[in-house]
């Protein structure tokens, strides 16, 4: 059985570990267009800020491929798939045959037409090579404009602020982190970022890039003109489906897979940011570009590829992030619309704390925790288990909310069982 995995991040590693749980010996070939040992993409902003070295970014130990008997082809892009012949063609002409294939190519930056990275000084902020370029040019006093105040844009801003760069962030929505925060929470976060010198232009986006060969500034849709030495496009990420273009693999926004992570083409699987997994809150297939979900999907794919039946139970959006030591944890639906939702909110500006829990018919479907993030996972667990919390709803927002607030029997079942099992 020959396993081939295209990709080298969370989903791919999850797949390797999933396969090896079942099949210890069959060869695995891993192909990645990046030349590096598997590393954690979320850490690139830490790298930029000088908080981690490249070695510390590795997602698994140095001997991971060796221990798991994985043959790697790094630094070469996989560009074509022949599902009938079961062959993946690489950019250098090499053809790699497979019995089972996993496409874990992740996401690529979304760049609108007017912001295509043609001029020098324009970057995206997705992979290690991006920050390696940026670090050459970013220095104390230089100016930058970041398009997009999402997770990526703000992490880039934080990293650059630590280097002393003058930063303005431009965002189309009325608030920062619009995908994961409501207006009130976003205001807390924006205040914190502004205290650290980051400037914002909300409710607008970039219209025109200024400069000949090298970017010198940007004109916003609201008419304002901003000077800059370099520009980062951080509007969003879309599934990197280039590999399957022209093949029979069914696409939606991402690659469509069933609960075994298999595509419509037998033997071809997809996992991670490139695929659409089952979202248990929205109750439909969606792209869930979150690292824990990617790993979980990859692991499931791997097990299924190796012949062990494994169902991906689904996931949902969840994030843990922080800026300048101000942490926040969010998950699920945070701006509910409709009568079936109920929101419990606790806002404490003196402590810079904001808590919001969103319920749908007494089942938690989302939450925001700013600053007081301890034990947030208990709420995450209540979301994934779809627990009816009507009997202890009033305790949810308390600082010391915990298992003591659960009904006795529920608590004993969970605590005395020995944890989560496969």
């Amino acid at each position: 059985m020959k396993y081939v995995i295209v990709g080298n991040s969370a989903a791919a590693i999850g797949a390797v570990e999933g396969i090896r749980k079942v099949d210890k010996d069959s060869p695995i070939t891993l192909i990645s267009d990046e030349p590096y040992h598997t590393y954690s993409r979320p850490l690139i902003s830490y790298y930029l800020a000088g908080k981690v070295s490249q070695e510390k970014m590795y997602y698994r130990n140095e001997d991971f491929y060796q221990v798991n008997k994985v043959e790697t082809i790094l630094g070469v892009k996989a560009e074509g798939l022949d599902a009938a012949e079961k062959v993946v063609t690489l950019l250098n002409g090499q053809k790699v045959g497979y019995d089972k294939l996993l496409i874990a190519t992740g996401g690529k930056p979304f760049v609108p037409p007017n912001l295509i990275l043609q001029k020098s000084g324009m970057y995206s902020f997705i992979k290690l090579d991006d920050v390696k370029e940026i670090e050459k040019i970013a220095k104390s006093g230089s100016k930058t404009v970041i398009i997009g105040a999402g997770l990526i844009g703000l992490k880039a801003a934080e990293g650059l602020a630590k280097l002393g760069v003058d930063i303005t962030v431009v965002e189309l929505a009325n608030r920062v982190l619009s995908a994961i925060l409501d207006e009130e929470a976003a205001a807390f976060v924006q205040d914190n970022l502004e205290e650290h010198g980051i400037k914002f232009e909300l409710n607008t986006t970039a219209d025109k890039i200024l400069g000949e060969d090298k970017v010198s500034g940007v004109v916003l849709q609201n008419g304002k003109e901003l000077e800059c030495d370099f520009l980062i496009v951080a509007i969003g990420v879309v599934p990197n489906t280039d590999l399957v273009k022209g093949s029979e693999v069914k696409l939606n926004r991402g690659i469509v897979v069933d609960e075994h992570m298999e595509t419509n083409v037998p033997g071809v699987y997809a996992a991670g940011d490139v695929s659409e997994g089952y979202d248990t809150i929205y109750k439909q297939q969606r792209v869930l570009p979150i690292l824990p979900n990617a790993y979980r999907q990859g692991e499931n794919a791997g097990k299924n590829m190796a012949g062990a039946e494994s169902v991906y139970a689904g996931g949902f959006a969840m994030n843990s992030i922080g800026f300048f030591d101000y942490p926040m944890i969010t998950a699920g639906i945070i701006k509910p619309e409709g009568d079936e939702f109920e929101s419990l909110v606790q806002s404490d500006p003196a402590c810079k704390s904001y808590k919001k829990i969103v319920l749908r018919q007494d089942v938690i479907v989302g939450f925001i925790y700013l600053n007081k993030v301890d034990r947030a996972g208990i709420i995450t667990g209540l979301i994934s288990d779809q627990v009816n919390v009507s009997t202890f709803k009033q305790a949810l927002l308390e600082d010391d909310f915990g298992y003591i607030d659960f009904p006795v029997e529920e608590r004993k079942v969970r605590m005395l069982k020995g944890g989560r099992s496969a």
Binding site: G14, P42, L291, D325, M415
Partner: protein, 148 residues
């Protein structure tokens, strides 16, 4: 795999488990006074005592067979030892992103922000080679260390 299970009927809420957990993870494993007074950065207790009188109990990492924290960890610092089954955080790789805290359904992971930010949680006292310090020192046998 042997794990720690609480018996809430017998928990006094005295929190001696917290004291001994701190000592067991300090540089002075046999000297409580030094562990508290001399140690520069006092370790966090890895056991959480929840209390709403008269009910109380101690809760710590369940070392889940399928640990959500290990799938959530962005650096690979959280790993389950394939032999002992103990889930540990390799602090040198941890960057304090708290994604494990987001994922742990027991809320068993704490934020250690005393120096470099790292996630702190129960390691079943694997270094001590004895039964976990909390179980050993509980004055009322409110915790047991057994296979279930």
């Amino acid at each position: 795999m042997k794990k720690v299970y609480a018996k809430e009927e017998y928990c006094l809420g005295c929190r001696l488990c917290e004291v001994h957990c701190i000592v067991a993870h300090s540089d002075y494993k046999n000297d409580i006074v030094k562990a508290f007074k001399k140690q520069e950065q006092r370790p966090l207790p890895r056991v959480i005592v929840e209390e709403n009188r008269p009910v109380s109990f101690a809760l710590q990492c369940r070392h889940c067979e399928d640990a959500p924290c290990t799938t959530a960890c962005i650096t690979g610092a959280m790993q389950k030892d394939p032999v002992t089954g103990v889930v540990t955080c390799e602090e040198s790789r941890c960057v304090g992103c708290w994604t494990c805290i987001l994922a742990c359904p027991f809320g068993a992971i704490a934020r250690n922000e005393q120096g470099k930010k790292v996630a702190s949680k129960c390691d079943l006292c694997s270094e001590l080679g004895d039964i976990p310090a909390c179980v050993k020192n509980c004055p009322n046998a409110a915790m047991v260390f057994e296979e279930r």
